[in-house]
Symmetry: C2
Subunit: 448 residues, 2 copies
């Protein structure tokens, strides 16, 4: 730490800390450790052969364009595909509403640049996605949070947090990372109503929406908001949806002008190694993000966008590819979730509870409140099993006795072994605590 750069660090950089948890999790690179820590898709479900064929066709047919600089907004045919795909879920947009980002993480960073002044307050769920906290802490944001339960954000506790004056809300409505919980339809309507009443817009992060293993698809917040806005006349400055003063796209639809910015990604449905995600937002938000993105990385890799577009449209199944592939992913992950839940029922001691997600990649475990999941991680690593302690997902340092488990990455065999090991660690910790408690009473008993 003696180079001339060290004492030139910006205040912003000084506020960023390498995470101690991340250091612990580096140990999981050891192949002997069964890791429920990452958020990685199962490599077995990657459509490798389809990628190989798509890369071959792209480089064969328009290789020069795929290797050249391209527009900051993203590859137009891919943005058009996204518009068609979003429409299947009721999201009305035009390509001008879509920005391709280098992973969802970049979308979060862009929104940080766009919206956050140092000290600004952001409303999140508790727990919430650790990458959002990391991105926005770099902009010196503060957080106010509302807890989730099995039906997602507890909207009946929302008003108090809204009264603190947050600039926007950050919500993961489907199979939330890390909680695994899903916001109920009734709460979606209430949330949008509060958003409108208090004038606090929403960033909706939906990386897992398509990975539902049972039950019915629920409308995204951006759709609930649009329906609400359409049902009454627009005011001058307000969370409206249609802006008749804006140009219309080729389909004759007005551009989106909503109270909700919607984020999604190809990381869970195609492959995370592409770093391809997207933002759907009002045109003015996209335009400003384009200016900011120019300074960040000029544009997302052309080659990856072209390959993704080819795989999504150009194979034998045409535009049916993704639907078929997602069905395969669902089958694999549903089985792994079931294996994990069954093993937990068998091996986890009384006093430990968990969520039972209907989709996504994660579930959330709550230990007795006298246990510290970060301390226990060291013992778990000794037993060659890993997770992420809950405090990493906490905007306020709470969640010390909880943890996140990923069920998508490990094979069913490893899930069984890993959960058994974790159960032993938890049982031992509970027993140790009981012994310690008993000991603390010994002098009392002896004195009696």
């Amino acid at each position: 730490m003696t180079t001339p750069w060290n004492h030139r660090c910006s205040l912003r950089m000084q506020s960023m800390r390498g995470s101690a948890i991340r250091e612990l999790l580096k140990l999981t690179e050891n192949p002997e450790i069964i890791s429920f820590g990452g958020g990685m898709p199962a490599p077995e479900v990657f459509p490798v052969e389809a990628f190989r064929a798509a890369a071959d066709r792209v480089l064969d047919r328009h290789g020069r364009n795929a290797l050249q600089y391209s527009a900051t907004e993203g590859y137009r045919p891919l943005r058009e595909w996204i518009v068609r795909q979003m429409a299947r879920y009721g999201i009305e947009s035009a390509p001008e509403n879509v920005l391709i980002t280098s992973g969802s993480q970049q979308a979060l960073d862009l929104l940080g640049t766009l919206l956050i002044n140092p000290g600004d307050l952001i409303l999140t769920e508790r727990p919430t996605y650790l990458g959002a906290l990391q991105a926005w802490r770099a902009y010196q944001a503060r957080f106010v949070s509302v807890p989730v339960d099995d039906d997602g954000l507890q909207v009946d506790l929302l008003e108090e947090a809204l009264c603190a004056g947050p600039k926007f809300m950050y919500i993961l409505p489907n199979f939330q990372n890390p909680g695994g919980v899903t916001l109920s339809l009734e709460r979606r309507h209430k949330l949008i109503e509060f958003s409108d009443r208090y004038g606090v817009p929403i960033i909706e992060d939906d990386p897992y929406g398509e990975l539902r293993y049972e039950g019915d698809h629920l409308p995204p917040l951006v759709v609930v908001d649009a329906e609400r806005c359409k049902s009454r006349p627009a005011r001058a400055i307000e969370p409206g949806y249609y802006d008749e003063s804006q140009p219309r796209n080729g389909n004759g639809r007005a551009y989106m002008r909503g109270n909700v910015i919607y984020l999604s990604t190809f990381s869970k449905t195609l492959a995370p190694g592409l770093r391809l995600a997207w933002m759907v937002a009002p045109v003015e938000v996209i335009q400003r993000c384009v200016v900011a993105k120019q300074g960040m990385d000029l544009h997302t890799a052309t080659l990856n966008q072209a390959i993704a577009h080819e795989i999504l449209t150009g194979g034998e199944e045409g535009e049916g590819f993704l639907m078929g592939h997602v069905r395969l992913i669902r089958d694999v992950y549903r089985e792994r979730r079931d294996v994990m839940l069954t093993a937990m029922r068998r091996h986890f001691p009384p006093g430990v509870t968990w969520t039972e997600p209907t989709g996504g990649l994660f579930l959330w475990v709550t230990l007795p409140d006298y246990l510290d999941a970060t301390e226990l991680l060291k013992k778990a690593l000794e037993q060659k099993v890993a997770y992420v302690p809950g405090v990493a997902f906490s905007p306020d340092g709470s969640e010390r006795n909880s943890l996140r488990l990923n069920f998508s990455f490990c094979t069913p065999e490893k899930i069984n072994i890993g959960i058994q090991r974790l159960g032993d660690v938890f049982s031992q910790a509970i027993e140790d605590h009981a012994v310690e408690m008993a000991r603390s009473f010994e002098p009392v008993l002896q004195a009696a």
Copy 2:
């Protein structure tokens, strides 16, 4: 402009402006316009077939890894290749000194995060790379600049600028973008001496170093600095090179601990559509940049890194691929530069001067000082030819009568036609000015 997001913009975002010049240059998407505006490589030199073969091998042999999440630092084999490649140019480093970035633009953004507090002063060449100005203006940096001449940065004018107290210097020593000029060996030594004496470190941006069309390779600043540091004992906090307290890498070399951070890219030697570049820096700088990059995009696309590594090492020519391919690029660009210079001599009117670069992609044209290159761009576009006005590269709004021409992108035929058109525009403007001058004297003459 009536959505709830608009009035929530951060101060940082409000300080970023969409560039009027960029808007003008959007017109160059019209294929009828001959554009010397971009900084694009010739698509004819992209090794498309090698990319196709490499993508095929990567996806065939280790597709699952190439599609998965990967380390923020970058793909280790690619970092090891970079260490070997840098060593050919005298840069001693270890993989721990190398960070893969999503294009050089991201390296500039990362260094902005790492180093710049609002109001900090940065010393640049004048003119300098527009992407650096854009990245660092977003951090509310201020600039002090030193003009370049045919031998690069005028180091005899450096001390006055250093006395203003810049946090670091940003230097493009080889075939500078936009000037096309190269810093002479003598000046490299003087620059490093000043850097040491004033304690102001350097960011060396070297995207074009390998694209030299004649003359001898000059040592990078990072090497000149290292040699200077090695020749005398290290102080406690100082711009030293070897830090004996740091661990050593596998090759037994000490990690770099320099006064110069070195940036380069695959955009000009392989393809810009990959968005692959790298930073060579002291370990502590890399570690901090890794923390910042996690919040920005988690990591650069795994697939692209694996394909780049495969193309650089895995084909028939093995590690000889790049050298052979760069030779081809040099031949193509040398010819285009020569065609452009010949056409300029023929078609540009007296009073217009230009640089004669020995490498790179750009040259710099200076018009008579009564002409405004931004105004003239409109006339050039009417004649279906484009360039970037010099003011875009100016940290202080100067360079109004200059402009940048790119000679790598257009074919020789188009270069000839485009330069002829530009010559006509410049000649007409000079003539118009002469007529206007004459007219302004008319009343005087009539009165006499």
